[in-house]
Assembly symmetry: C2
């Protein structure tokens, strides 16, 4: 007889305990991109080691030149499939802090028009999602004394800051980490009623450019005109990156971008994506993307170039007629298909150099480069998991694309020769990376129940 | 017999006392654009009231809705010309502070390759220059018991932040302030050996624009493509403001810009301005200004559009794949001839609006608008003063243009029907508005001696 009903019942009975555990985790300020929070990242890793120990998983903190990894292993039961579960314990910065309506590191349940939510930085990305899996494992262990499959746990603390230690760590621990299949919980539902498995992920190239003109800030009255203004040079460079159709102008940028197969386009069109509602939810109305593509195609299957930050000159209160010495921009590219991030980086940098007056200089900083990934759904784990999700939500689970980038999926593939199964319970309005991030209580609770079901189904893969 | 030799001797004998007084003044952090320093601005005004009292001038602090004015009057001696001396006690912000090699508010004498300098924020702009005049008056009073002309003193504390209180104050005190001629000490020498009287000043229009797209910061993976990016919109707008010849594209922008009279062009060409040296001093080599004009013509007789500050998205350490909600820029225009700043503001704002997608908004903040000024040298005070300067420096004083903007000159003209005589002792490398501002000790000392001579010559105007 299946133990699943008892496992699900255990999750229901201990819902509030699970929320309290998540709150403890959310209180840790594990912002990885800002070195001021390095100690908090260590605390988050230690907290996870203790959580895993609590459910009988041998785990340890594994230090790296950056923030530590956490690795844990369940007791091996021979003859069962072996999966690796990946999540990240680091979170995005919280600025602008004044736009939060509560302390981002003081989690609380809030009632909203669309139900109860857990409000905190990291609630959805990725602490809440990560904990859905741990809670599912806890319920299996406490109900049956074992897990349906063998599980290796891998948690990193640099996902929000380019994962500099991840590739060396995977390369250095191939034998320990290469198993049958990776499970990743960092994606979303199609909507609040419809679970999804993500089978296409965009890649990401992050570049920072700093242009220097004069060797000091100048007075715009005394030098304005003859002296080069780096903000002006930078705006010309950035403005030249898109043409009037919203296409990116870097030479050979679209190499490796294939047209969407008609079959997939038809499936996506049938999802009933409401572009006006999607944009309206953030107070926008006009599709600002590449001409000739629907918003969903743009998000899931087209590359983009975004300006994530820009700074130069006097930006304080009031006015200062300064002619700045430097100007800086952070630029990212979402990549699809077989676009080569390293070639694009090279061509982007050549374009910037070519726009630069001969007496100005530019410095480039590399913030990561990962290609896009497309999963093959031939692996039976995909259809089995889709059935498990459909059972839990009482609604057909869908195969979806994902606008975001989860570079680890590419690394698992290249370094560990391991496919990834991406299941997550985030919603479009979770405001990840923004003020007032939240995670639906339903996502958290039914997410744990979903993983409990998926784990049972994965055992059939054996 | 002229008292001038005794007055000049007095200035020489008390040189160190004068420097110590200036140091006291420089220690006051009177940054007007940042409200955190409002109390320091009051302290600077009070300090000036006490200084004037010390040389027998009845002066008082005159509060305004912003930072206070200081007004003082010498005892009236009938039959003598009456001049108004204007200066400002406020200073620019000091950021980036890390580029200063000493505390900007802890003045010191430093020996440099080009002689001794006074190093501090405001040393040249405008505290040091202002004090050259007060020291000249002190020497006259202490030597002869009176001043050669009747003098009204007017000091403001908002020159570096758009002078919002100045026009209402001039309008409200017309009778008290409208005299024969204004003297303004906020300009420079032609070079370290050649004094100058500035007879052309560019106007200044300051505008700040803030573009809002989505109502919150978004995740560039979840929204990048369809959602408008305000940094991208802003860079397109700014990049469109100059054409490939460096001309400004705002409709009718050049209305009121007349070609430079051949005679003046010839005079300027004969000054031997070394463009390579001028740019080389700040590590530049390429004239980045409007094509077809020399650097000196660009600085003195051509309008410009400069980007003084830009900010949007994540600008901290590391990287954040945010799609920002807002982007902001501070833009200033230097104006010449009869360009109308209000018309240009209107046309600039219309251009910005026209570039904006219909679902985005823009807020404009007004940071002042003043037209250019051209002085008539028919007034004998100009030639008399030029003689005084030539005598002091033993080198022909020149009539020059000035790339900067001194809006008060326009206001004196319009509101008080009063011409301005602009004499100053700043040098091109004073780094005003920049880190490590300095004022040459020679400028300070011979500046005071120059004013002592000019005051005697102005008495002849009676």
């Amino acid at each position: 007889m299946s133990s699943l009903p008892a496992v699900l019942e255990h999750i229901d009975a201990h819902r509030d305990d699970a929320i309290n555990r998540l709150f403890e985790f959310l209180k840790i300020k594990s912002i990885s991109t800002d070195s001021a929070f390095a100690q908090d990242c260590i605390s988050a890793a230690d907290w996870l080691v203790a959580e895993l120990a609590d459910i009988g998983i041998k785990a340890s903190r594994r230090d790296t030149p950056g923030h530590p990894m956490v690795v844990g292993h369940s007791d091996t039961i021979s003859g069962r499939p072996h999966v690796l579960f990946y999540g990240h314990y680091d979170v995005q910065p919280v600025d602008p802090l004044e736009l939060w309506h509560r302390d981002p590191f003081d989690p609380a349940i809030e009632e909203t028009d669309s139900g109860a939510v857990i409000r905190a930085r990291g609630a959805a990305d990725d602490k809440g999602q990560l904990m859905t899996f741990i809670e599912a494992c806890r319920a299996w262990k406490q109900t049956t004394g074992e897990l349906p499959v063998n599980i290796t746990f891998l948690f990193e603390g640099e996902e929000e800051s380019g994962s500099p230690s991840l590739v060396p760590f995977l390369q250095g621990n191939k034998e320990e980490l290469a198993v049958d299949l990776a499970l990743v919980c960092d994606t979303g539902m199609w909507n609040a009623q419809t679970p999804a498995i993500c089978t296409m992920l965009r890649g990401l190239l992050g570049e920072e450019i700093t242009i220097t003109a004069a060797d000091k800030d100048l007075h715009s009255g005394m030098f304005g005109g003859p002296a080069a203004n780096p903000v002006r040079i930078l705006t010309k460079i950035l403005a030249g990156l898109h043409d009037n159709e919203g296409r990116i102008t870097i030479p050979d940028f679209y190499d490796g971008v294939d047209p969407l197969p008609a079959q997939i386009k038809t499936q996506w069109d049938s999802l009933g994506f409401d572009e006006a509602e999607f944009l309206g939810a953030v107070d926008l109305a006009v599709n600002a993307g590449e001409h000739g593509y629907s918003a969903l195609e743009q998000l899931w299957s087209r590359p983009t170039c975004e300006f994530n930050g820009i700074e130069g000159g006097y930006t304080g209160e009031g006015f200062k007629t300064v002619l700045p010495s430097k100007a800086n921009a952070k630029v990212s590219f979402r990549l699809v298909g077989n676009q080569n991030p390293l070639t694009i980086r090279e061509n982007f940098r050549a374009y910037v150099q070519q726009c630069l007056p001969t007496d100005c200089t530019v410095e480039f900083e590399d913030h990561g480069a990962s290609p896009a990934t497309t999963m093959s759904i031939a692996n039976a784990a995909f259809e089995n998991s889709r059935t498990a999700l459909t059972d839990e939500w009482n609604n057909d689970a869908v195969y979806a694309g994902c606008g975001g980038s989860i570079p680890v999926v590419g690394y698992f593939n290249e370094i560990l020769n391991m496919e990834s199964l991406l299941i997550g319970f985030g919603l479009d309005d979770d405001q990840i990376h923004s003020p007032n991030e939240k995670y639906s209580v339903q996502s958290f609770h039914k997410g744990a129940r979903s993983w409990a079901r998926v784990l049972e189904k994965l055992a059939e893969n054996g």
